[in-house]
Amino acid sequence: MTGAPENQIRNTLENQHLQTAIYTATGRLMSHRRAVVSPEVLPDFQELRTQANLIKKHTIENLDYYLEQFASNVAARGGKVIWARDGAAVVDFLAKLAKEKNVRLIVKAKSMTSEEIELNDRLGRHGLEPVETDLGEYIVQLAHERPYHIVAPALHKTRYEVADLFTERLGVERETEIERQTKIARSVLREKFLSAGIGISGANFLVADSGAIVLVTNEGNARMATTLPRIHVAIAGIEKVIPRAQDLAVFLKLLGRSATGQPLTVYTSFLSGPRRENEIDGPDEFYVVLLDNGRTRLLADRYKRESLYCIRCGACLNHCPVYRKVGGHNYPWVYSGPIGKIITPQYLGVTHDPWLPFASSLCGACEEVCPVKIRIPRLLLKLRSEVVKAKMRDPQSRLERLGFRVWAWVMCRPKLYEMLGAMGSAVFGNGEAWLRRAPGLMNYGPVKAWFSQRDLAPMPARSFRQMWRARRKAAQD
C-alpha cells in the first residue's frame, strides 16, 4: 500500500534466516505463554484479565487523582517527581542534572519509554555517555539499531551476528557461544556500573498508594543500575500508575506470563525514595520523571483511550501473523506489532503513516491474548475510518471512495447487483486465462496484487440466486 516501506518489507520477507528467526522466537514465546495460562495451571486467568482491564480503566478515568497521589507519596519518601511534557523536557532535566553533579557516564536499564524519546542519541549530543545494560538492549545499542521487539530487543540477531558485532565494537576475539558472549558483555558492563554517576530505569508500574516504582526484569541489571550509581532516575509514561500495591497481585501474575511465559520474572524490584539511614544500598537521590509525550491527547479520546491500558508485555507481537512476517523494524516507530499499530497514529498523527492501520488482516489474535483486554482490532477499524476521512482529498483515496460509493449504491439495488454479477461471470468465466490475455486488467492494482501471490478459480457460470431459481422452478414443474 502507498506509503508503506514496501522494499524494506520485501527484504525482510525474502530473508530466510530472518524469517526463521522471527517465527521461531515468537513461536517459542507463544508456547511458553500457553503453558502457563492454561485453565489447568491458572484457572482464573480470564478473570485476572477482566480484573486488570477494570483496574486500568478505573485508573485511566481517574488519572489526575492517582498521579497526584503517587507524586505526593514519592515526595514523602524523599524522592522528587519531574513532570515532563515531552522528550526534550526529559533530556533538558537530565543534561542539567548531569552537569550539576558532574556526571558523564550513565547506565541504563531497559526502558521502552526512553526509546520512545530517543534518549540515548539525545544524551549523546549533550556529551553524555548512556550505556544500555540489558543484554538485548546493549546489543542493539552497539549495532545502532532500534529494539526489534518490546521485550526482546535483539530477537532478530543470531549469535553469529552478535559475535561479529562484539568483535567490531569491543575489539574482543570472536566468540559465538552465548554464555561466553554474556560474560564479555558482563565484564564490560561491570566497569560501567561501578563508574556511572546516574542510573536510568523505566518503570513497569508506579504504585500510587506507596510512591514506589516496580521493575520487572530477568537479568538483574536493573538492580545494579538503580542502586550502584549515586543518582537513580526512573522515566515512566503517566499511564503506568496503578492505584494500590495490592493491584500488583493481578498485574504481576499477568505480565511475566504474557510476556515470556514466566509465572514471575526473575527479579521484581520495589523502589521507593533514596537510601535511608540504616539502609545498606540504594541511591542518594531518587527522581521519577513522569512523561506525557502525547498521552494526555490520547486520554482525551474516549473511544481510543484504552490504548493507554497497555503494560508492554509484547504478547500481541508474538501472536501477530503480520509481525511474525515483517518483524519489528518495518514499523514507523519504536512500538511495533499490533500495539504499535494502534498507538503510533495516535502519537504521531493519523496521516503520518496512513497505511499502518490497514496492515492487518484483523484476525484478532492480539486482542485474544492481551492481558488487559485492549480491543485492538476495534481500534484499528476506527483508525482506518479516521485515515479515510483525513485523506479524503488525496487522488488515490478519492478513487477508492468513489469505488465504495458506487459499490454501496449497487449493493442497495439487488437487480443491478445481479446484472453486474452476471456480466462479471460472463467476463471472468474463463478465469485467469482471460485475465492474462487482457494485460490492462492484469495491471490493475488489486488484480495484479492478488495474482502476484495466488491463483483464482474461474467465476462460476451461474450465481447462487440463479441456481436457486432454477431449482425452485424444477421442483414446481
Binding site: 454501496a408 439487488p414 440463479q466
Partner: protein, 240 residues
C-alpha cells in the same frame, strides 16, 4: 415445518454458489423449510473494514430491511455473521432506530455450524465423505463467535472422513479482505505459512466455514502446485 431464511453472502452468491446450495440441502435434509430472500446482497463488511463507514451503513440498512421479519437467518460464514452480530452496533451507535433493528436481528442470526448444533441440535446430518481432511479455524468465527469444537463435532459424524489437525489451525490464512490486495506480499507470506502447516498433515482437503479464507488458501495451494482441494463445511455435510 420450521422455517429458516438463508443469507448466503455476496461472495458465496457470486463465487461459490455450490456452497449456498449445499447449505440449503443440509437444512432441508434435517427438516427445515428454507427461504432465500432475493433482495439480499452483502452485509457491508468490505466497506466497514476499509474505513468507509457511511457506505457500510447504507448496505447494512439494506440488509436489516431485507431480513427484518426472518425468524432465523442462517449464514455460511463466520465473518459475515460476526459483522452483523457485532459490528452493526458500532455502525449504528448514533442511530437509535437502526440500533434497535440491529438488536432485534442479533439473536436471530446464526452461523451455519452453530445453527446446526445449537438451534437444530443435530450433529449427524447423514453425510459421507471418504477423505482425509484438515480444518482451518477462520479468525472471525473462532475469535468473534467462539466457533472451535462445533465444526469438528459435525465432521466427526461424517462417515468415512478422517480429520487430521494442523499445527497452525488457528493462525490467520492472510486473507483479511482488502488487506490481501493492499499488502499482497505479507498476505501471501501468511498464506504460505498456513499451507506449510496444511501440507504437514498429509490431508487431501482443507475444510473451513468461510469461503473467503478458502479462496485465499485454495489460490495459494494452486500457486504452490498442490492438488489439495478446499471445501466449505456445508459441502462436506451435504456430501453423501
Amino acid at each position: 415445518m420450521p422455517r429458516v431464511s438463508v443469507f448466503v453472502t455476496c461472495i458465496v452468491d457470486q463465487m461459490f454458489p455450490k456452497v449456498g446450495m449445499a447449505m440449503v440441502e443440509v437444512l432441508e435434509r434435517i427438516g427445515y423449510d428454507v427461504d432465500f430472500p432475493e433482495e439480499q446482497t452483502c452485509c457491508g463488511q468490505p466497506a466497514f473494514n476499509t474505513g468507509y463507514r457511511e457506505e457500510a451503513r447504507k448496505v447494512a440498512r439494506h440488509f436489516l430491511k431485507v431480513f427484518r421479519d426472518a425468524e432465523y437467518i442462517v449464514v455460511p460464514s463466520g465473518s459475515c455473521t460476526s459483522m452483523i452480530a457485532h459490528q452493526y452496533r458500532e455502525l449504528f451507535a448514533k442511530e437509535p432506530e437502526w440500533l434497535e433493528a440491529t438488536n432485534a436481528i442479533e439473536p436471530r442470526i446464526w452461523e451455519f455450524s452453530k445453527f446446526l448444533l445449537e438451534v437444530a441440535k443435530v450433529e449427524d446430518v447423514g453425510a459421507r465423505l471418504e477423505r482425509v481432511v484438515t480444518f482451518h479455524d477462520s479468525c472471525h468465527g473462532l475469535r468473534g463467535l467462539g466457533i472451535k469444537e462445533g465444526p469438528r463435532r459435525l465432521l466427526s459424524r461424517v462417515r468415512g472422513l478422517t480429520l487430521r489437525e494442523m499445527d497452525a489451525a488457528e493462525e490467520c490464512c492472510g486473507f483479511g479482505g482488502t488487506f490481501s490486495v493492499k499488502f499482497p506480499e505479507i498476505s501471501g507470506g501468511m498464506a504460505r505459512t498456513k499451507i506449510d502447516s496444511i501440507l504437514r498433515t498429509g490431508a487431501e482437503l482443507v475444510v473451513g466455514i468461510d469461503v473467503s479464507c478458502l479462496l485465499q488458501i485454495r489460490g495459494a495451494l494452486s500457486r504452490a502446485g498442490s492438488t489439495i482441494g478446499t471445501m466449505h463445511l456445508a459441502e462436506v455435510l451435504a456430501h453423501r
